[in-house]
């Protein structure tokens, strides 16, 4: 196997978009990977190859194209099972993304199982997609939504969880495996251990974690797990929901329609086998295949190597950014507890102004509330700037970012 370093040197060649320039002929420095990642030729080619050579609907017709298409679609399901260690492929449901996955759970599991007075527990550093669906279902059912708080280091206060579990009313604890704003890696093992002891189900939002580290769902022992393809080199509009079979069997369908049925009569219908009961209508076939290619690409590099590469970059970035006068980094500085996501504020300059000025240097960072307004409230800020890394980022990218902050300082006379 190649050494880690030489492996990462050539990666940029696979990403056509990284060769383009932006604004005033500046090379693109893409640092918004927590939002979405760029796509390698291997993923782009697999999607065009599907449309050029194999396009047909799946699971229905008997002709050659339909067989190829179905095979490629189902092969992606197996790749996913292998990638995040899922023993039973029937537990893998294709969805549009993490947001749809969580809404599916809230609707198809939450509505039949959550009653008046019950509690759903989430955390203060969740993305809106792991808050709003639970607000909808708990308000509808006159149940309660409670939050595990966060300490000043950006870590969850697990004593809060004990307090809620002690009520005996908790039906579900739902949390992100990695914060999309602070990069904090959640102590999932501890949370799941506590919940299991209390007989409470757990849902993990893996959107930020799965692209960046080895995730083993069987080992984690949660009951629901969701992630998105586009944050891990795959196309937009495709994501994965995993649900433990014993739980999946207690869920009502999400969407009714084709492919999710066994028999339809005028006034009653019986459901298709798992997972097809939850995949109504013609699915996003091309992008499922594209996601399969992204998994092939990541697997070839190795998730451990990717994590190592990002630890290097994050360490370097924290060191360089900490040296910028007036710059404040949020979250823990303990690299073993955080991924490659760095949120910061620069003196009293609003993050939108920071983002716009450094955009002139070709740098793409996110500014705003990052769909985490509950967390912004907790941090008592309106917004932050966020740089987030992936396999194709280099220390040079971070140098350009740090240098560009001098321009911001000059404009705002810091």
């Amino acid at each position: 196997m190649q050494s880690t370093e030489s492996q990462f040197e050539n990666i940029r060649d696979d990403f056509p978009i990284l060769k383009r320039t932006v604004r005033d002929n500046k090379p693109l420095v893409y640092l918004d990977n927590a939002s979405t990642t760029q796509k390698p030729n291997q993923v782009i080619d697999s999607i065009t190859d599907y449309y050029r050579n194999h396009n047909a609907n799946i699971h229905r017709a008997v002709y050659a194209l339909a067989e190829e298409s179905t095979e490629a679609y189902e092969a992606s399901r197996d790749k996913i099972a292998n990638f995040v260690n899922i023993e039973n492929r029937q537990e893998i449901i294709f969805v549009r993304g993490t947001t749809e996955a969580i809404n599916l759970i809230a609707y198809a599991w939450g509505r039949p199982h959550i009653d008046e007075g019950d509690i759903v527990v989430t955390t203060e550093y969740e993305h809106h997609s792991n808050i709003v669906p639970w607000q909808l279902v708990t308000q509808d059912k006159r149940a309660k939504l409670e939050y595990i708080g966060m300490d000043d280091n950006g870590e969850l206060i697990l004593d809060d969880l004990d307090k809620y579990l002690a009520t005996g009313k908790v039906k579900l604890v739902t949390f992100s495996l990695m914060s999309n704003v602070l990069g904090t890696i959640t102590n999932a093992e501890k949370i799941i251990e506590k919940c299991k002891a209390a007989g409470v189900l757990t849902l993990i939002d893996g959107a930020q974690a799965v692209p960046h580290m080895k995730v083993d769902i069987e080992k984690l022992g949660c009951d629901f797990f969701a992630f998105s393809g586009h944050k891990m080199l795959g196309p937009t509009g495709i994501g994965v929901l995993w649900v433990r079979k014993s739980v999946l069997q207690t869920m009502s369908p999400f969407h009714g329609g084709g492919d999710m049925i066994r028999e339809v009569h005028k006034y009653e219908t019986t459901w298709n086998d798992l997972p097809y009961k939850f995949e109504a209508g013609t699915p996003n076939i091309a992008d499922v295949i594209g996601l399969g290619s992204a998994i092939d690409y990541l697997s070839k590099i190795g998730m451990e190597n990717i994590r190592k590469h990002e630890i290097e970059l994050t360490k370097y970035a924290i060191e360089k950014l900490s040296a910028v006068k007036g710059l404040h980094i949020y979250g823990t500085k303990d690299i073993s507890k955080r991924g490659g996501v760095i949120s910061f504020n620069f003196a009293d300059v609003h993050p939108h102004d920071v983002a716009q000025i450094i955009d002139e240097e070709g740098i793409a960072v996110r500014s705003g509330h990052h769909c985490a307004q509950v967390l912004m409230e907790r941090l008592d800020v309106a917004a932050t700037s966020r740089a987030s890394f992936y396999i194709y980022n280099t220390k040079h990218d971070i140098d350009i970012l740090v240098n560009s902050l001098n321009t911001v300082a000059k404009v705002f006379k810091l």
């Binding site: 005033d24 300059v349 939108h352 102004d353 716009q356 002139e360 705003g368 912004m376 705002f412 006379k413």
Partner: protein, 147 residues
């Protein structure tokens, strides 16, 4: 304008650092709040109305330099105007003062949030105090479709 960063000229930075008419009016006759859901900018405008004129206006809230500078300029333009004159303020009256006529689409909401709040405050006042509903719908529509 050659570069988008050129919008951060002296005037914008100064206004954002030292906003004009920033604060609250205790005995306001009307107040209105609005925010931009995407970026989280949030502005309140308080106004004192005497004899159908805006005798005092202040704003407060959180926002980027563009948002703060435009809010400052807007309150300067509005102060002393009659309600009818204030209603007639257009987006280029604000953008023009700061040389932001060609602001890129993603930032226009930052620049015009305060104007939206002003128009909303005016129709709220007209609805509550003047009982003059004649043009209310038109003004409401104007505020809603500003950007």
């Amino acid at each position: 304008m050659s570069s988008n960063a050129d919008i951060y000229h002296e005037m914008i930075v100064d206004y954002s650092r030292n906003p004009v008419n920033y604060g609250e009016i205790e005995n306001h006759d009307v107040t209105f709040h609005d925010s931009n859901p995407l970026c989280g900018d949030s502005i309140d405008i308080d106004m004192k109305i005497d004899d159908n004129h805006v005798s005092d206006i202040k704003f407060h809230g959180k926002g980027c330099a563009i948002c703060m500078a435009c809010s400052s300029v807007l309150t300067e333009i509005t102060k002393g105007k009659s309600i009818d004159e204030a209603r007639a303020i257009e987006k280029n009256d604000v953008l023009g003062e700061l040389g932001l006529e060609h602001l890129q689409a993603v930032r226009i909401k930052c620049a015009l949030l305060s104007l939206k709040v002003l128009k909303s405050a005016l129709y709220t006042y007209m609805g509550n105090h003047l009982k003059d509903n004649e043009d209310l719908d038109k003004l409401k529509e104007e505020a809603a479709n500003l950007y």
